[in-house]
């Protein structure tokens, strides 16, 4: 069965139905383009057919391109993959352009056949791009449907004519939110934005489109850009208004992205160059840049991390397969502080019942009020209704009474990071919760096996590291203690799936995975300050390589006393094996000066009375003089990146990480590790093990043993291997 099939009614309107066999959502493949092309040819060639409606037999119209098709082009290309990719894209353009030109005789303006798109639901990427080639777009009034071009979010840009058509429809400023930010809209808003033409009740959808096809006039079939005298809204690049728009857009994107995202750059180039030439040439230019992006290792890495591997982990790649569904109906959250309140919020908004416990009713209520504020904000932004608020709040019971935990499926313990307090509530809860309930402890630093000592059923005891703020951070790190059982892991994973977050599963070791990597990032920056490297250079070097915030700012956010605590604890735990660092003096200096970070409005940065950062603290230079000759920014960046990346490799070597995909997805989602790189392992692959080893050896010679290349990396350098070639689990890559 082909992806597109066609039937023609008595009225002469062909219905082209998209229905990829065996898939829950339509995705476009090379064969799909072929099938669509056949249908379009049939419409244009058959005199009995008056026009066509393109629709879907599924709830969604389409989710986008089948990424396997893109990967397939690349793989098939042999010596010259760019040629195969470019030709493949152009073939797609030709099909869409055939629809758009409608078989019309442009000399007479007659003989064209109308094509209407009828979208029953979500239409993303190529789904919208096909629609944009049609002469009118109808969408069902389904408020849950998403319409847009989100390609930029995964390191691509709309390469199926969406870039060229949207800019010609809306102008560069008008289209920029949809192309550059990947903003998607529900149908009503998409119509207001001019992205679709009509929104109709779902049951009226095919008939409305069919009726339009029957009454469409010749003039309706000519796109503005195919008419004489077409002018791009807002002007082309060398039109006075257009110049400001283009120069402004370029600067804005450059400034926001630090220039590390090739897709953003290629998208802008396609927009700019395309705006200066006729439509068909613009499509060719778009195809050249799209090919360029597909050939770029960063794009492939981002697709892998943010789409394929993230998706695989969300679908349970790390889940013990033999354990049946462990979805939860009700959870208990112990501790209603910032983390507990956040966990209660994400659970309740996912429809899960929550018993939120703290020592006083007041504290428990305060935790619950977080959800109330969150829902109020949603109502103000028209993303939630008062009914939804009532429903969500109704799911949370704030109490001091442990008896309320009698029927929970899962406990998430989020009390103060103190083993004694954690042990106390563990015992107290286990005395009440059902036999098969799972006990998860939310901790960012305390070893799980140690905490499990307080438990009577250690196979049901698991670590669950949420990131702050819980409602925004997408990653949850699940930690297996020495005795944690498959059932507990499955329960934790199923809960994470229910709340719509992405899990990684790691083994128990000091700081688990995420903190193990992120703590040295700050530590290296502290050493640099002690060496006399300008704090601004440290912060800028980090941001310019794509870290979301500089390490010193991160220190202020997570607080200097925490760094002090970690430092002291690490020294206590490791004793003489703990490497000495001059960076410790930096933390001690700040700590003793009472500059504990953002929470006291003073740290590495200075703040005004409203808590806004005003600049780096100049007083730091009095303690640690800034050197006259500053190092090259690349060296600073290598130090800040590799100090994290080498920890990731060590974690993998030591078996803390079992799957490099978890290492990469966890890094990008957990602490925003250089998203363009696709994660630490993907970055090492991009760099090549041999080069990475070379850089490490250079850094180790100057800066110390912590940069010594791990044995695994050295071995891979000798063998010329990459992580993804050597360690990829056999998993299907599908969109």
């Amino acid at each position: 069965m082909a992806d597109f099939t066609m039937t023609t009614g008595d009225d002469g309107v062909a219905i082209i139905t998209w229905d990829c066999p065996g898939k829950s959502m339509n995705v476009m493949s090379e064969a799909g383009f072929g099938a669509l092309d056949d249908c379009v040819d049939a419409v244009l060639e058959d005199d009995a057919i008056k026009g066509a409606v393109i629709t879907s037999a599924k709830k969604y119209f389409a989710a986008g391109m089948d990424l396997n098709t893109l990967a397939g082009w690349k793989a098939r290309g042999g010596e010259n993959p760019a040629r195969v990719i470019f030709d493949g894209i152009m073939q797609g353009h030709n099909v869409l352009r055939k629809i758009e030109l409608a078989g019309m005789d442009f000399k007479t303006g007659k003989g064209g056949k109308p094509f209407a798109a009828a979208l029953p639901g979500t239409a993303l990427g190529i789904g919208l791009e096909i629609s944009l080639a049609c002469h009118r777009i109808f969408a069902a009034d389904n408020p849950k449907a998403k319409i847009g071009l989100p390609e930029i979010m995964v390191g691509l840009f709309p390469g199926g004519g969406g870039t060229t058509r949207m800019v010609r429809k809306m102008g560069v400023m008008g289209a920029s939110g949809y192309l550059l930010e990947g903003k998607t809209l529900e149908p009503a808003k998409a119509r207001a934005a001019g992205m679709v033409d009509e929104v109709v009740p779902a049951d009226a959808l095919p008939d409305a489109a069919r009726a339009w096809v029957l009454k469409a006039k010749d003039a309706d079939l000519v796109k503005p850009w195919d008419q004489k005298g077409y002018r791009m809204p807002g002007g082309t690049p060398y039109h006075p208004a257009g110049f400001m728009a283009f120069a402004g857009a370029v600067a804005m994107v450059h400034s926001k992205t630090s220039g590390v995202y090739p897709a953003a750059q290629a998208l802008l180039a396609a927009i700019y160059e395309g705006a200066l030439v006729p439509f068909d040439t613009a499509l060719k230019i778009e195809a050249r840049w799209f090919t360029h992006v597909l050939m770029n290792p960063s794009s492939a890495a981002m697709i892998n991390a943010l789409f394929i591997n993230k998706g695989a982990l969300e679908k349970g790649a790390a889940r013990p397969a033999h354990v049946p569904d462990q979805s939860v109906k009700k959870i208990g959250v112990l501790g209603a502080g910032m983390m507990g309140a956040g966990i209660a919020l994400v659970a309740a908004t996912a429809g899960i019942g929550v018993v939120l416990i703290d020592r006083t009713q007041e504290a428990a209520d305060r935790g619950k009020s977080c959800t109330e504020h969150y829902m109020d904000k949603g109502i103000r932004r028209k993303k939630a209704t008062p009914e939804q608020k009532k429903q969500v709040l109704g799911l949370i019971r704030a109490t001091t009474d442990f008896d309320a935990l009698r029927d929970v499926d899962l406990i998430v313990e989020a009390v103060f990071e103190d083993p004694a307090i954690k042990a106390e509530v563990t015992k107290k809860a286990e005395a009440i919760i059902p036999q098969d309930a799972t006990f998860a402890t939310n901790t960012s630093t305390l070893p799980i096996t140690g905490l499990a000592a307080a438990s009577q059923r250690r196979d049901q005891f698991v670590g669950m590291h949420f990131f702050s703020p819980v409602d925004k951070m997408m990653l949850v790190e699940i930690i297996k203690g020495r005795e944690t059982g498959a059932h507990a892991v499955a329960r934790a994973l199923d809960f994470v799936r229910q709340i719509g977050k992405t899990p990684i599963v790691v083994n128990d070791a000091r700081f688990f995975y995420a903190n193990r990597c992120i703590i040295p990032y700050g530590g290296e920056a502290h050493r640099m300050v002690a060496e006399g490297i300008a704090p601004a250079l440290i912060e800028n070097a980090a941001r310019h390589m794509g870290m979301p915030i500089g390490p010193l700012q991160l220190g202020d956010e997570t607080s200097v006393d925490l760094a002090m605590k970690i430092m002291t604890a690490t020294k206590a735990a490791m004793g003489n094996t703990c490497p000495a660092s001059d960076g410790d003096k930096v933390i001690t200096t700040l700590f003793e000066a009472g500059r504990l970070g953002r929470k006291v409005n003073a740290g590495f940065y200075t703040y005004d009375e409203t808590g806004r950062r005003t600049g780096l603290w100049p007083g730091l230079a009095d303690h640690f003089a800034v050197m006259e000759d500053q190092p090259d920014v690349t060296e600073v960046q290598h130090r800040l990146a590799l100090v994290q990346v080498l920890e990731a490799v060590h974690a993998f070597e030591e078996g803390v990480l079992e799957d490099i995909r978890e290492g990469d997805v966890g890094a990008v989602l957990g602490w925003g590790f250089m998203p363009w790189s696709g994660g630490p392992f993907s970055w090492l692959d991009m760099l090549g093990a041999e080069q990475a080893v070379g850089i490490c050896e250079g850094l180790a010679a100057t800066h110390g043993d912590r940069f010594n290349p791990p044995a695994l990396l050295k071995e891979m350098a000798e063998k010329g291997e990459t992580f993804y070639a050597r360690f990829t689990p056999a998993a299907p890559a599908s969109a």
């Binding site: 120069a247 857009a249 450059h254 220039g259 750059q265 700019y272 250079l537 912060e539 800028n540 310019h544």
Partner: protein, 404 residues
Amino acid sequence: MAQDAYIYDTTRSPRGKGKPDGSLHEVSAVRLSAETLNVLQARTGFDSADVDDVIWGNVSQVGEQGGCLARSAVLCSDLDQSVAGVSVNRFCASGLEAVNMAAGQVMGGQGQGYIAGGVESMSRVPMGSDGGAIAADPTLAMKVCFVPQGISADLIATKYGYSRGMCDEYAVQSQKRAARAQKEGRFSRSVYALKDQNGLGILDHDEMIRGATDMQGLSTLHPSFRDMGETMPGFDRIAIMKYPVLEKIEHVHHAGNSSGIADGAGAVLIGNREFGEKNGLRPRARIRGTARIGTDPTIMLTGPVPVTEKILKMNGMAISDIDLFEVNEAFAAVVLRFQDHFDVDMDKLNVNGGAIAMGHPLGGTGAILLGTLLDEMERSDKETGLATLCIGSGMGVATIIERA
């Protein structure tokens, strides 16, 4: 084959305010150019037949400044049609680049006489109206970390530590020096009085000088580039990508310590010895050397320093061999950087003020600068002078002249 290139004379129009209420706004760029050529011929009486070319600097070559303005200017003037014309664009240094090109032709034996100079009617053809890929083409703009000149000037000030106060003090000095020079008639050797087709006067002096400028007055001015730098579209972050050691950009430049937008033209008559002999002219100066260089396009305006080092080296000279300097006052920080780097005595540098006081008609300024330098060398009896300008997209141009 190598010959000496001499300056036989220079002249310039007065500089008018480059806005619709400026005195030269009513005069077209072609007429302003043609008048300047006519005045030069009238002052020296050269024979058109001995002039090979008019090399004419001009930046915004669109509209009335388009279509090879140089040739249009020749045809509009009283020069013979046998004189060719070529427009050249080296942004702010176009006028000096024209001089250097002409000198190069003469030195290389390709002709005897040239007129070099340039014009800009900024009130009529606004700056930027010729577009330009470096700002709008993402591939290029991102590759070079493009920022507008004002951000570059503020970047220089930040990197080298020139405060708002230092820039304002320099601006006050420029105004005072220009006012004094004007009052004492130091510009009168070069500036001609521009008249209309009926012989009625339009403008006979640089009209933008404000000798009464003081620190207090300047302190009220809003930094011109802060908004585009810090908020929309955020050029400061782009500048910091190239200069990551800086935490932020200090926005010190404003309308009062940056060059004014102006209308104006300048021309220089250049030839070999034979040209002078044939036309009965005594050379006023010899062009000792010329140089040009490319520099980082983001900080953009630091070119005068390396191009001066280059021209000195090319000519076996030291900075101490130069008696007088003209460094275009595009922005205060550009001159401060030059002074700071070479530790030049302020009494030798821009002694009659500059573009901060009198305005900067882009394509014309280079030729005007050289004329001002030569006039002052004669007035104060100095032997050697150097003129240099900072340039868009990161370049520098310099010329050394000595009294003949």
